[in-house]
């Protein structure tokens, strides 16, 4: 008996390990595919990090010397192979536009991006779930109006435009909040955390409000279904107060779709953050990628793409973990 139990445990662990390995393998293959694709595109495109080929202010000799120094004179396959070898050692190369290791530049940008996306994600879910639940409980209230019309309208507007409107209204006309960047020039000392929060407020809000639309809508749907379910009816029949039916009985049952949504919506949120970062001059990955592209800085662009893929992967894994935790059924029969 005991032996069979151990076996099941091992079997389950083995299956889980196999699944993780299979996923990791598939992911590595896809990543390699994308790296090759981007590298080929960089090759095929006109111009280079050294500047346009017909720039008269740069002599041919200087150009050749510069290209040799940057390693751009080697054939493309050789450079790609070298890039991959470096990647295996954790070396992402040197940024052409900043003359610094790509890993260091990315490291500086990762923190601000995580701060912005993380707080926006948390805010979007808190707001979406609160509004969705409230809207189901009170179909004619303000929350219901927000879920049905207000948030979808914000979600239909382009994120960068919302950013501009927010800057115009809250930073310039009303003067409540700073319009850009992450800190004030004099933003150190005891007031630094407050300074950071003030700078965070606008980009975070612009990112969170549209993302809350889908969450709120699903939560609203799920709550209405949960409140109409036999379980809720039974609870009411047993004399459980409505408030408790809503928050205790229906809420837990309704939370599941929102958590699945977390994983699905993450790439969009991270992408939206990239655009919002540019609007607010937020020193994150999005701003970095945009400037790397404008400067034709291939190592930096490749590195940030890689980091974005890692973020999406990590986010997806985290969402799956949360969903499994919230719903015991998922633990029994893992979806492929």
């Amino acid at each position: 008996m005991a032996e069979r139990d151990t076996e099941t445990v091992w079997g389950r662990r083995g299956r889980r390990a196999a699944r993780v390995l299979r996923r990791a393998g598939a992911w590595l293959v896809t990543l390699l595919l994308v790296l090759v694709l981007v590298f080929v595109l960089l090759e095929a495109a006109p111009g280079s990090a050294v500047g346009p080929g017909d720039d008269p202010s740069v002599s041919a000799a200087d150009r050749a010397r510069l290209e040799a120094a940057l390693g751009l004179d080697r054939p493309a396959p050789e450079r790609f192979a070298r890039y991959l070898r470096g990647l295996l050692r954790g070396d992402l190369g040197t940024s052409l536009s900043r003359s610094r290791p790509v890993a260091a530049v990315l490291g500086e940008a990762l923190g601000p991006t995580l701060l912005l996306s993380g707080t926006a994600l948390a805010a979007a879910f808190a707001l979406g779930i609160a509004l969705g639940t409230r809207a189901a409980a009170r179909p004619r209230g303000l929350a219901a109006w927000a879920v049905r019309f207000g948030l979808p309208a914000l979600d239909a507007a382009p994120p960068f435009w919302l950013g501009l409107v927010a800057i115009l209204a809250f930073a310039w006309k009303l003067g409540w909040l700073p319009a850009s960047h992450m800190r004030s020039p004099a933003g150190s000392g005891p007031a630094a955390p407050l300074d950071l929060l003030a700078h965070l407020a606008l980009p975070m809000g612009v990112l969170a409000l549209p993302s809350a639309a889908a969450v709120a809508r699903h939560q609203w749907d799920a709550m209405r279904r949960a409140l109409a379910s036999p379980a809720a009816a039974t609870a009411r029949a047993l004399g459980v107060p409505e408030r408790r039916v809503i928050w205790h009985h229906a809420f837990r049952a309704a939370l599941q779709p929102a958590l699945v949504l977390l994983g699905l919506g993450l790439p969009a949120l991270v992408g939206g953050a990239a655009v919002v970062e540019v609007v607010f001059s937020w020193p994150g990955l999005g701003s970095l990628t945009q400037r790397a592209l404008l400067a034709r800085d291939a190592p930096l662009a490749l590195g940030s793409l890689l980091l974005y893929a890692l973020l999406v992967l990590a986010g997806g894994a985290l969402a799956e973990l949360l969903a499994r935790r919230a719903d015991p059924r998922l633990r029994e029969e893992p979806p492929r």
């Binding site: 896809t30 994308v34 655009v275 609007v279 662009a301």
Partner: protein, 334 residues
């Protein structure tokens, strides 16, 4: 019945967008001095003298007295921007009585930083933005159809390869991937539509593949095979009807997000190159004058939001019509 009005409205918004340039007033300022007409607020009217060659001389109607007076056979005109200019009467268009003809330039939505009529720009941009978005979603749907059917019906190695390729695309935030690709491709409207299609198909192909797999296991396809139908015939005649409704609904629900990606791309500097207007690059242009002229960025953004809402609404109705078992709810996350 209760959906008729919003349905008609949504369709009207999108149609008006596509027909935009035909409905909007022609940009009257091709030959006028644009610097004098920079950043006029919405609703501005500017009197102007008309040259005999059709050129326009915008006058400064503010301040005391008339903006122009006769002096011999010349006209002394107070132009917008402050300068006074003497213009020979012969160089002006005149009415039957011989008096110089005056016209009024109307700018219902104001002008941009180059003195261009914003309404005309938004109308012209509508066609560019909507055409790119529509071509993008159509291309993505067709790719998804071909790839999803192939993967779902063939199975095995073909399925694995195609699914991996789709996952590769899906493992990046879409806007970042499109941005990287567009940065190296010297974007034009066609290239942008192609990029939207190339980054958009995996999400749709997953749905097609799932439906095709169900169809492949059904007796219908086995019967078709037994009756001698080849793989192409099985895919196009027998499997296609099974996967089409889901695909149409999913594509319709995503169309709005394609418009947003296109606009964001323009804003980041990798979209339709100026001077061609798209909603995205009009908004981006307005960023530089945001403090002096709120309307340049704000109004095209409203047009874009209206178009996206209309597209989302039509997608919702398509879902209600084609998938009666599923109640119409929100669009899927992008």
């Amino acid at each position: 019945m209760r959906h008729t009005a919003p349905l008609a409205l949504s369709a009207a918004v999108l149609t008006a967008g596509l027909l935009g340039p035909l409905l909007a007033p022609a940009d009257p300022l091709a030959s006028a001095s644009p610097a004098a007409l920079r950043l006029l607020p919405p609703g501005s009217r500017v009197p102007a003298l008309v040259g005999s060659d059709g050129a326009l001389l915008p006058l400064d109607a503010r301040g005391p007295g008339s903006a122009w007076r006769l002096d011999g056979d010349e006209i002394i005109a107070r132009l917008r921007g402050g300068a006074e200019r003497r213009v020979p009467l012969a160089a002006l268009a005149r009415d039957a009585a011989g008096a110089p003809r005056l016209t009024t330039l109307r700018f219902p939505l104001g002008t941009d930083g180059f003195g261009r009529d914003l309404l005309s720009r938004i109308a012209a941009g509508a066609r560019v933005s909507l055409a790119i978005g529509l071509a993008g979603i159509l291309g993505a749907a067709l790719l998804a159809l071909a790839i999803g059917l192939a993967a779902g019906l063939a199975g095995g190695l073909v399925d694995a390869l195609l699914s991996r390729a789709g996952d590769a695309v899906l493992s990046f935030p879409r806007i970042v991937l499109v941005m990287v690709l567009a940065a190296w491709l010297a974007p034009s409207a066609g290239v942008l539509a192609a990029l939207l299609a190339l980054t958009g198909w995996p999400a749709l192909a997953r749905l097609v593949r799932a439906d095709a797999r169900v169809a492949a296991r059904s007796g219908l396809l086995a019967a078709a095979r037994a009756a001698g139908a080849g793989p192409l015939r099985r895919a196009l005649v027998h499997a296609l009807p099974a996967v089409l409704p889901t695909l149409i609904v999913a594509a319709a629900l995503r169309a709005g997000s394609y418009l947003l990606v296109e606009a964001s791309l323009s804003f980041l500097g990798f979209g339709v190159p100026p001077p061609h207007p798209s909603w995205g690059n009009i908004i981006a242009d307005g960023r530089e004058v945001l403090l002096e002229a709120w309307w340049v960025s704000t109004l095209p953004g409203l047009a874009l939001a209206a178009a996206v809402l209309a597209a989302n609404y039509l997608g919702d109705r398509a879902r209600a019509a084609l998938e009666p078992t599923v109640r119409a709810t929100s669009p899927p996350p992008r």
